[in-house]
Amino acid sequence: MPEETKCACGSANVAIFPCVGAANVGQLSNRIAIELEKQGIGNLMCTAGIGARAPGLMKSAEASDRIIAIDGCPVNCASKTLELAGFRVDRQIVISELGIKKSKDRDLKDQEIADTLGKVMEILQYE
């Protein structure tokens, strides 16, 4: 959850949906999404809320000009959840394709987060 609800005035709305899966890459997807929001890339939103078809979340996603899905692995749960709800994903990022091996070790390392964030920022920068 962000610290405050973002006003849509005067700027493009970018929604960021991480898979928040149970593996390390899923947990990393959430950390990366939080960091992206801190850097002003977009608004972190609840992917589970889309799965639940929660009206507030659905309407917030509908208002987005661009949707970024951050999946931990190629199972693509975040992207599929959004697509099944009728949303088009403008950019998908798969954490396991960035050199992180999927495991059950959820104790994320600061360096691992920083390195992954750098790679994600690089991907987003060239769009």
């Binding site: 609800t5 609840c46 809320g49």
Partner: protein, 77 residues
Amino acid sequence: MRIEILGTGCSKCNKTKELVEKAVKETGVDAEIVKVEDFDKILGYGVMVTPALVVDGDVKVAGKVPNMDDIKKWIKK
């Protein structure tokens, strides 16, 4: 009927409130219009971007100023 405008006082939120007031006046529906600026209440609706419009607890739109036709459709039952 209870109509809530969720937002922290930005121009789009104020515009939404103006349109809702006009829609209520033109349609003659009996409605209480409430401006909700409390962040916890806004999040409670699952709304992540404002302005948002809630009619009798149902989120109708978020992140943009709704048009007059839609507002009238939502408040006419």
